[in-house]
């Protein structure tokens, strides 16, 4: 019989209208990295919250080192040596790194803080595990990657032996992900036991020893990672075969739908312009991808295009009409649909119901209102229709508060709303961010569908796989300028990377001639 440090046996946890965990068993060995895989809403986070004491399970027991334990709150978990890096960091922005690490377990004499003592320990730990941080820096001044290191140090400072990472790579750049995975391996080698929640198969294959798969709240099994493949894992997770490549036919571009001329947009952060003299066209029936590393002006570009921000100079034409100065509503009515980068901020009113969100782009139309009074019956019918067609899953149907929905279904709701309204151009900004393979496949399919229906699609993406797979034409943006136009069939990831990092560029003349 093997020794497990943590055993979660037959855990069942219900929420109103949904069984989040149905008879799930998870056993963690000491010193291993154990991945917990599942789609959005499969119950991964709930299971971990049960282990961390944020929720109490209705059925099932938790054993540590063979003895049954009760975990009623995070304090209990902490006392048992269980620590967690939450997906959304729990850091006080105006505190220093050190203050955040010691918060809750402050070394003190008669209530007075003894910071120097704490600092020594933090510096020792950061040295030992290669977690570079500056203890005196304010959280708000440091990068996301460093904030995550602070979260890890928080656990190490508490001498936690079991470390839970809740989708830790979702917020990181590729470089930072590499560093994190190395740190996780080092921690495991030091004897820490790691639970790694994720839906990114590559990361699982790279670092974990074993993997437990959940699907819709049910236990699908635990496998040794070295004996399995990505395909098998994804089949366990989704319940069917997943294609990692997008199947599509040759694009047949027709008329120009979107024409951008010499667009310049100011930056909110620095004095220089975020977008400088950018010109390109998007035609009906093609997917053009604006690729680049995060922070090269994509956000400002999209904001200017969709009307959230003003242009400094230049013009935007949509279906031949100049919309450079049009309001957001006018642009939307003129045929622009927008899947925004930040679905919480710009995509949904989180505390509205699903049906209210679905009708946000058209509640004023005659179909849905009469002299200013909303026809709720019509709204309900429409929402139910969209929910059915786009397979939006939620606890209470049209009446679900969107905040409570999983990320993938929130994104489906936005896509349903934007695609179902009249449009000629679909602007999709990082539409698959933070989503699992099933949802990604679905969204890619929708984008290709739009293209085949003769619409123009402008995709803004940071994911190289997505750029290469989905687009018909790639424009690379670097420091606010288009530095290259590539054909995905004639290029490869390496070349694309060189353009994205600014190491290579076509002359701007070439681009204009081609466009």
């Amino acid at each position: 019989m093997e020794n497990y440090i943590v055993e979660m046996l037959n855990i069942t946890k219900e929420f109103p209208g949904i069984i989040a965990n149905d008879d799930i068993t998870l056993k963690l060995k000491k010193g291993e990295i154990h991945a917990l895989l599942g789609e959005n809403g499969a119950g991964k986070s709930t299971l971990m919250s049960v282990l961390f004491g944020l929720y109490q399970a209705e059925k099932g027991i938790i054993k540590m080192n063979g003895k049954e334990v009760k975990i009623n709150n995070p304090n209990d978990a902490n006392a048992l040596g269980i620590g967690m890096v939450h997906q959304h960091f729990k850091l006080v922005e105006v505190f220093t790194v050190l203050e955040n690490i010691i918060l809750g377990v402050e070394p003190n004499k008669m209530g007075f803080l003894q910071e120097s003592e704490a600092k020594e320990k933090v510096l020792y730990l950061s040295e030992k595990y290669g977690l570079k941080v500056n203890p005196d820096a304010l959280i708000e001044d440091i990068s996301v990657g460093m904030q995550q290191r602070v979260e890890i140090l928080k656990m190490l400072y508490r001498d936690n032996e079991i470390l839970i990472f809740d989708e830790p790579t979702a917020v990181l750049t590729p470089q930072e992900i590499k560093e994190l995975l190395k740190i996780m391996k080092d921690l495991a080698n030091e004897g820490k036991s790691i639970l790694f929640i994720t839906h990114k198969l590559n990361e699982i294959m790279e670092v974990s020893d074993r993997c437990t798969v959940l699907r819709k709240g049910k236990y699908m099994g635990t496998v040794d990672v070295k004996d399995t493949t990505k395909e098998e894992l994804s089949r366990m997770m989704v319940g069917r075969d997943i294609t990692f490549t997008v199947e599509k036919e040759e694009a047949k571009p027709k008329d120009v739908v979107l024409s951008i001329k010499n667009m310049t947009v100011a930056s909110k952060i620095h004095k220089n312009n975020a977008i400088r003299d950018v010109s390109f066209d998007v035609r009906a029936g093609e997917i053009v991808c604006l690729a680049g590393i995060d922070g090269n002006g994509q956000t400002e570009f999209v904001h200017a295009l969709t009307g959230l921000e003003k242009l400094v100079s230049g013009s935007i034409k949509l279906c031949g009409k100049d919309i450079s100065r049009s309001s957001i509503r006018q642009r939307s009515m003129g045929g622009m649909s927008h899947i925004p980068e930040d679905r919480h901020k710009h995509g949904l009113v989180l505390d509205y119901t699903l049906e209210e969100n679905l009708v946000l782009q058209r509640y004023w139309q005659k179909q849905f209102q009469n002299n200013g009074f909303i026809k709720f019956g019509e709204v309900r019918k429409y929402a139910e229709d969209l929910i059915e067609r786009f397979d939006i899953r939620s606890g209470q149907g049209p009446e679900t508060i969107t905040r409570s929905m999983s990320g993938g279904n929130q994104q489906k709701a936005i896509i349903a709303r934007e695609i179902d309204k009249e449009h000629e151009l679909l602007v999709a900004v990082q539409p698959t961010r933070g989503l699992d393979v099933g949802a990604i496949e679905y969204i890619h399919k929708q984008l290709v569908d739009r293209r085949d229906a003769g619409k123009a699609v402008l995709l803004i993406s940071l994911e190289l796989d997505e750029v290469m797979n989905v687009s018909d034409r790639i424009l690379v943006i670097y420091e606010g300028e288009i530095v290259g136009e590539l054909n995905p069939k004639e290029t490869n990831v390496q070349e694309l990377g060189l353009y994205m990092s600014g190491a290579k560029r076509n002359t701007s003349k070439e681009i204009k001639n081609e466009g």
Binding site: N73, P74, N75, N78, M84, H86, H88, K90, L91, V92, E93, V94, F95, E99, N100, I102, L103, G104, V105, E106, N108, G111, F112, L113, K154
Partner: protein, 321 residues
Amino acid sequence: MDIVYYLVQNMLPVAIPLLLVALGGMFSERSGVINIGLEGIMLFGAYFGALFVYNVQGTSMGPQTILLLGMLIAGIAGFLYSLLLSFAAVSMKANQVISGTALNMMIPAAVLLFSKMFFNSDGITTNKNFYIREIPILGDIPVIGQLFFQRTYLTVIIGFVFLAIATIVLYKTRFGLRLRACGEHPHAADSVGINVYKMRYAGVSISGVLAGIGGYFYSVGVMDGNVNGHTGVAGFGFLALAVMIFGQWKPIRIMFAALFFAFLRTLAYSVSLIPFLFNLGINQTYYKMLPYLATMLVLALTSKKSRAPKAEGIPYDKSQR
């Protein structure tokens, strides 16, 4: 020079209530609860403090002893009254501004009612004199002695002691660190095992104690030991909120802000003594508007840069993450 001495001597007793109440507001907001009920808590504390003075003024107790005991009672009264806000805003998750406003509306009426019932007047009038002509030894120091230790009240020294304590508690103790965490990111505090509700109760209670004492010191240092249901504390509770914002929720800055407002008020009441201002021939009533005008101006100018505790005003709900 005499005018300077006179202004400072008169400014300090006015500044101290503002300082204490603003510090109270700071503790409350740093824990995440907006305490707009400071005005009401002040009057509540002042009323009980004055009631105590009224009852013991005939005994042989010395004035400074009475002042200290009165302070204790005012502090306790303020604490008890503030529990109403804690209960509504923290335990019951009510809207903090509305709950605070309710505290403000109840007290002037209650003071008037009870004063009419028991004293047949609009408030409580006491005849104890807390004024100190000169503090021994310290008062003899040249310049400083004249500025700070002559023609003053014990309240001034107590006020600065509270300031020192507040600064240390907020920045140097475990309690202070946890309190600030609850006002900035209560979920983070909760996730490391800090009881957010308890800390918020503590924050509001400290503000209750300080506002109660502040109200009492207002009646001692500004109103000669009297309390009046009509004029209350003349908007000092709201002024203290402005002082707190102007002071950016930081104790030392709050002190300077309190001195600034107190100076304007003292200046306004001393126009007849300052030939330059007197000769301008402006009706003196306009000068009395100064602190209040300055409040509006200061808030309008600083509000864009000001950085309130991030989670203030939002009732803490464990389940929302």
